[in-house]
Symmetry: C2
Subunit: 445 residues, 2 copies
């Protein structure tokens, strides 16, 4: 007689939103996890497990995927809000970054940001900032999954005072992480077509291709980028990138608030994917991305929070909520963005954007076990008619009670198991106290 | 020697946002409460109190004021979303209301809604629905403060199958509550200019004036209301109400998404106040109210959630967040709505809208003690540069840990003290189960 299978973890009793291609919803579901992977999805029945998790009264779904962050910017959360964009950038954010961004700030900020993300249901994120080695080290410490993108721009950055050294440093960064850490995927991130020359964009994309990694860039966050690029290169930004040959299936364009229908056709043809950051774009008054048209043309779209200086939260539930509503109201049509579509963007869509959809984004046998439990036994989530509606329009990050990443429980009953929260919060408070003191001589902070 | 004063409750150690006319912020503040009222606001120092509340690490602010709700609609939360407005109303909401709204549903729904509101920082709300006696009874059971508005329309309502009996019932409702319950303020609520005839609007306003109570109406939620009213009466909706003589300082116009600059001038001249419900209007794709222009003209604006069928939450933190961002992005100007302005609308502004600003809306000696504590010692609220920014852009309802209404602690460390939560949730789940079964024969629910 065969020895019965023993799972490392079994989650049972909840309502499972698989987010698979068929969008199957399974009541009283059971998920078996072995060696970090999902090896069983079925109705609940008696099985053997080292660890049983009772999900009764919970929605069980894939961990959320945040496709765009600048984690260390948590240190600047709420430092300067409600200001004209250029004042915000040039008088507050850029000076603060030039002055306060260093390895310690990046690591400490990333740790706090990851605490916030885990506590609100995110299991995978894509970061782009400076000192990305420190981000990757923090990812390892927290047990999260991440695409970690080393930044490029045509000016000195906090981690690379000399532009000439950026590529060599980036290549070392990729070499360090590309095959040593299964939870970390290195990538390259050009800041934008207006801060990176055609040569930089082409060089970075070539190096990304050589390494087989993703290439990211901010694109068309603000309307005036169209005029800037047209003046400089005689064409619109998306066409500019097309002509430089940097658009393909391994390219992620972030924001895309001013993507035209023609641009959308280009993106659809080439398989370029998009990171949609509705909360940040609303707060910065940057614009509303034409996501319904993108989806109609088959472009893969994921959600992202952007950095905490422009959001000011890293809570993907807020992004789902904002994305579901902003397209409705700006088009005066409540049917253009359904709750289900939004949950897809936040899970399997985001996984697809990051090139990780064979590993994560849905709960199916063979995928890695990135799973969250949302406690529905609460007044603001009662009664329950439709789980997608409830997640998008009524739930919030604080309703996620347990989070599993690659088969490891990183949060249980809202207690973080991989992060020393008081220490991490104190580290960032100390940085903020220093920032406050140093900037207090300036006119406004 | 005088006996030292003993307070019923003293809250000390937090950062106090007074929301007074000077917008004073007091660090390490102390608030003394006696007989339901605030009798001391000062820096912390040793005093005697029956009950000391340590607010260290908290923001302390006036309880939030929700200026527009239909509480029992929690029973329909998430029942039908992402649908064209008329389908949603005529195929789902109206049939469900005709069939399922009764005294028990109203009371049970209101109890659950109040649990949700207290848990997210609301201490006062203004409701408009049917069977408002049951709402008022639930308000008394929960210890909240409310303006309770009996609804009118030119058709049979669940509580008044015959229109002729509406006014008599409404008069009895006012007589019952107007001086018997200090926490309950009765009011009259005409559904809208398109569901109430000129005669109804005038009669109800006259009866409201006679009783010295507020008169509310939905106005210009959707754009097509303009055409409907123009066809019927040859003028635009606000002008129609002006000509009927129903606009004055005791009138609250709800939504006002399509208020013109001319309408705004009329409202400003007459002192009509506005309930702004950004989340509901975004979700229903109804429109964006011109709130920045209203505020510029001196109109008093408060925030409201609307009912749970169109929101789907009763969390004023979501309204603050949405209001701060929707005006920025639709005007492409991040300066049109500051976080501080939004917190004002959610507190003293809302109190002013409801005619309760002499009692509540700020923390000042002489006002009644409606006070909430927001726990800032959390990763998503770290670091703290600006309390208004943090409340609006990073905090959420779940961060409110303690709530005091009229000097009575109704929630402490997130535990409700006046509501049996499991029972209240079960009551609504039973109603929802019945609704689900009964409606399952229909095409879609």
């Amino acid at each position: 007689m065969m020895q019965p299978t023993t799972f490392d973890i079994v989650i049972s009793g909840g309502t499972l939103l698989t987010m698979s291609a068929t969008m199957e919803i399974l009541e009283d579901a059971m998920i078996g996890i072995q060696n970090g992977c999902i090896t069983l999805v079925d109705k609940s029945r008696p099985v053997q497990a080292v660890r049983m998790i009772n999900a009764t009264g919970c929605l069980v779904l894939p961990g959320l995927v945040n496709t765009h962050t600048h984690l260390p910017m948590v240190c600047f959360r709420g430092m300067a809000d409600d200001l004209p964009l250029m004042d915000w950038l040039t008088k507050h954010i850029f000076p603060a970054e030039a002055r306060f961004v260093n390895k310690k700030m990046v690591y400490d900020g990333a740790m706090l940001a990851m605490a916030e993300m885990i506590l609100s249901g995110t299991t995978t994120f894509c970061d782009g900032y400076f000192f990305e080695n420190q981000i990757a080290e923090a990812v390892q410490a927290c047990g999260m999954r991440a695409v970690v993108s080393q930044g490029f721009a045509d000016f000195a950055t906090p981690d690379n005072p000399k532009y000439e050294k950026m590529m060599a440093a980036a290549q070392r960064f990729v070499a360090r992480w590309i095959s040593s850490a299964p939870m970390i995927t290195p990538a390259f991130f050009c800041h934008s077509p207006y801060t990176c020359s055609p040569q930089t964009l082409m060089n970075v994309k070539a190096a990304a291709r050589e390494n087989g990694i993703m290439f990211l860039t901010h694109l068309l966050e603000n309307k005036d980028e169209i005029e800037t690029i047209e003046k400089r290169y005689g064409k619109k930004p998306a066409r500019h990138l097309l002509d430089l040959g940097v658009l393909d299936q391994q390219t992620i364009a972030v924001h895309c608030n001013w993507l035209s229908l023609e641009d959308i056709a280009i993106f659809a043809d080439l398989g370029v994917s998009v990171s949609h950051n509705p909360v940040s774009s609303m707060k910065l008054a940057a614009g509303v991305a034409p996501v319904p048209q993108m989806l109609k043309r088959g472009i893969t779209v994921g959600l992202g929070t952007d950095g905490s200086a422009s959001n000011n939260a890293l809570d993907m539930f807020r992004e789902m909520d904002a994305s579901a509503k902003i397209h409705k109201v700006t088009r005066l049509d409540p049917t253009v963005m359904s709750a289900q579509t939004v949950v897809q963007m936040a899970t399997i869509g985001g996984a697809h954007v990051l090139g990780l959809d064979s590993l994560i984004g849905s709960i199916e046998v063979g995928k890695e076990a990135d799973i969250i439990l949302v406690d529905m036994n609460q007044p603001h989530l009662t009664p329950l008619y439709n789980p997608y509606s409830q997640l998008v329009y009524a739930a919030r990050g604080a309703d996620v009670i347990t989070s599993i990443i690659h088969g490891k429980i990183v949060m249980e009953n809202r207690r973080l198991l991989t992060i020393d929260l008081p220490e991490v919060m104190n580290n960032v408070r100390e940085i903020a106290a220093y920032v406050r003191t140093e900037m207090s001589g300036r006119k406004q902070i």
